[in-house]
Symmetry: C2
Subunit: 466 residues, 2 copies
């Protein structure tokens, strides 16, 4: 059999040790913070019944779901007519009954409905798992990527919204980011605006257009609004709203005036005020409210989905799309027959956050996930002296290994370098005879002769275990 | 649209918070130990090119691989004849070019070959990821389950084998198991035995038969050996080998006598002796060698794959198949054209270990992954007093939450119980006025009145943070 040079499936990636460590750094940081706020982890299976997923993501989404071919004689019951017509689309449900997870939201809704008798509401969960999409792969877009979602269902309290703002703030700070905006809006404010203009039926057109302010500017937005059925007179009303500026408090005051005639609009403003009051009560430094949160009424993200607050997070340190977003939805589980369960949640864009931290050099410089000490192997006869050393290092909780066979020093050093091992212990005949260790710091190149206790202490203190 | 009650795809499971925590307890324990021995984590994609996987697991394995249907008009280029014949088997490669990971070994081999220029040999990696098999689901057998593999490639040293024994020992001890056998054998010993009998060509038949000693007893083994082409005379030679007893040293001495005429057999014995010498040098307590390792020449596991040492781990505390196994293979990457790269590795059966720990009650009793303190919500007017408390708890690294809306105390208590929250802080009007907290221990039911500093201290000490 001729051997073919192996390749990765299109749009997928291997994660080598260094990448794994960086990704785990992000996930572990997020996990710890989610837990501190009372969120528990769950996982759902990688594939679901096809019927669970189809019809939930629109026509385009359905197309991008990876379907799994039935096992065995999958064509046995397939319609001969569809096969003869090569009708790919209609044949799918006859030869595939399972599909790969497309996002974490629909499986979570399925989970909540199936476990409604075991879980205590409000149910606060987070979930960090890969999802798969048959998108055309391109730079930064993969067919397998991780999503990272935090949601609570069954609690209408706006305290949840406030805590998501704090979670974003604490998480991004913990990852080393310092300049970012947590943008917040409310679907009810958008409804109120459409109502005030007298075109509530055009709310989607309106938000789709003003959502593009960043990209196409006011002129572009106005042009699009006119195309979508708004009049010049409407633009006169909308313009000051779109260009709303000032502090959050000033924006909310201005909105109250504009939305005076819309009870839904005023309810939206009141919700944001309550969220801000909760943030102020929780964050006694005032830091979050004054620096990180920004009312942005052009923010619309998946409008047909969200019913209350809407969030989006952007970093100002790197050119990058949003690194997170979310909001409140009142109808998540109704797709599976469980009505009136309110939920609110946010997600973190792990791949983008990875790229941001990489670009800013914010990953921890010293690796804690790799071997800390390599003991060189000069000759087999010395192993009985050095092997117990390896063991004693490990007993101290220090990741240690001996080069597994006697080999040229250069090769062993290049092994240490390749693996990012910070310290090499050189224990040759002379060191054995004098009961010492030559400890080489691989970064500085410095080498010192120490006894074992001092050598261990040096490693411990470099790891802050001391 | 009629809503269908959602179900899980056959053979898959959700992992609720409690199960996630238990599984993470196993994985985190293993991860920490793998790292301490110098192994780094990698991950490979969930799906591979179909051609990477087919032909690697035998005909039965190929059948059990989950294939992913091509996206778009997948029938366009399919053969009309195969479609008309409903030839499911031959159509697969025409409508599917990707498949779900079936194990971690083949993707690892693919990884090593593709990254051979970036990795420094010896390459020590571990990998903990789900795999998928289209098996008929049954009790304890799932279509999605985790594998947990540790391997080193590019090092012939038997120090690696010795360290895998220590890894097994340390990991199972860390998980709370106390009575288990790490069985060890060597392919070369099996070859030697077949050689001594004069039937080297029957080595597979021999090992398949004697591997069943546990299940069918000596009589059954003998019967099978006769059926498989051995003579009564052969049985006379084999019997004392199969029934070999005594200490490991005694067994190896006996084998040296039996295998005196077989150089390959003697080489196998010498390898085990060297592994034991390495274990003795590393484990100065002698505990591992005297209590945990057992030479078992009936052990054969995937003989055609392993070329040197073979491992298998069994617990004696619970009725359960092997909870781990592995060995040395000399030909892992040749399937992808990279020859002469030796490797050795072991795997942990995470699902079985989970069941064992569950049955023995060995999972940590106190949850560290859930909220530690719930602050009750009596009325909205008190929130401004209690919310900063939540914040101060979190600043101490304590997972804390306030019940998000004022609600009946009974409901809040049942929330705490459902979530396994160990402490509830009751802060009503009286407590606010006296600046105190009623701290309720949910396990003992005991309730004490403390000031905030003492209340935090109580939580910290219960978490051993104090």
């Amino acid at each position: 059999m001729a051997q073919v040079k192996p390749t990765l499936a299109k749009g997928t990636r291997d994660f080598s040790p260094v990448e794994m460590e960086k990704r785990n750094h992000i996930f572990n940081t997020l996990r710890a913070i989610f837990r501190k706020y009372g969120y528990n982890e769950i996982q759902t299976p990688s594939f679901e019944n096809l019927s669970t997923l189809t019809g939930k993501y629109g026509e385009e989404g359905d197309r991008l779901i990876f379907k799994i071919l039935n096992s065995g004689d999958y064509l046995a019951k397939a319609s001969a007519d569809l096969l003869a017509d090569k009708n790919s689309l209609k044949l799918v449900p006859q030869i595939s009954e399972k599909a790969l997870r497309y996002d974490l939201t629909v499986p979570f809704a399925r989970y909540v409905v199936m476990h409604q008798n075991d879980i205590t509401l409000p149910f606060k969960r987070f979930q960090i798992q890969p999802v798969w999409r048959a998108d055309r792969p391109q730079r930064g877009r993969y067919r397998e990527f991780y999503q990272c979602d935090v949601d609570v269902v069954g609690s209408p309290s706006l305290l949840n919204e406030a805590e998501f703002v704090l979670i974003y703030h604490e998480a991004l700070r913990a990852l080393g980011l310092s300049d970012f905006d947590i943008k917040i809006n409310n679907r009810k404010i958008l409804s109120g605006i459409a109502e005030v203009i007298g075109k509530p039926e055009l709310i989607v057109d309106m938000t789709v257009a003003i959502d593009k302010l960043d990209k196409i500017g006011l002129e572009g937005v106005n042009k699009e609004l006119l195309e979508r059925g708004f009049t010049d007179q409407d633009l006169t009303v909308l313009e000051p709203i779109i260009l709303l500026s000032g502090t959050n408090t000033e924006k909310l005051e201005a909105l109250k005036t504009v939305l005076a005639s819309s009870s839904v609009g005023l309810a939206g403003v009141a919700e944001l005020e309550e969220v801000f009051a909760y943030i102020a009560a929780l964050d006694t430094t005032g830091e979050v409210l004054s620096n990180a949160v920004e009312v942005d009424i052009t923010l619309a993200r998946g409008l047909n989905y969200y019913t209350g607050c809407i969030f989006e997070v952007k970093t100002n340190e790197v050119q990058m799309g949003s690194i997170g977003g979310g909001g409140r939805y009142d109808d998540l589980t109704s797709m599976f027959g469980l009505k009136n369960l309110t939920g609110v949640g946010v997600s973190f864009g792990a791949d983008r956050i990875y790229d941001v931290l990489e670009e800013l050099g914010l990953f921890p410089e010293q690796s804690s996930a790799t071997t800390q000490v390599l003991i060189c192997n000069f000759e087999k006869s010395l192993e009985r002296h050095t092997l117990p050393m390896v063991n004693r290092l490990r007993e101290q909780g220090i990741a240690a290994e001996m080069y597994p066979e006697p080999s040229k020093l250069k090769k062993q050093m290049s092994y240490a370098n390749g693996k990012g091992i910070p310290f090499v212990w050189l224990v040759g005949e002379e060191e054995v005879n004098t009961n010492t260790i030559a400890v080489k710091d691989m970064k500085s190149g410095e080498q010192v002769i120490l006894d074992e206790a001092a050598a261990i202490e040096k490693i411990r203190s470099s790891l802050s275990l001391g």
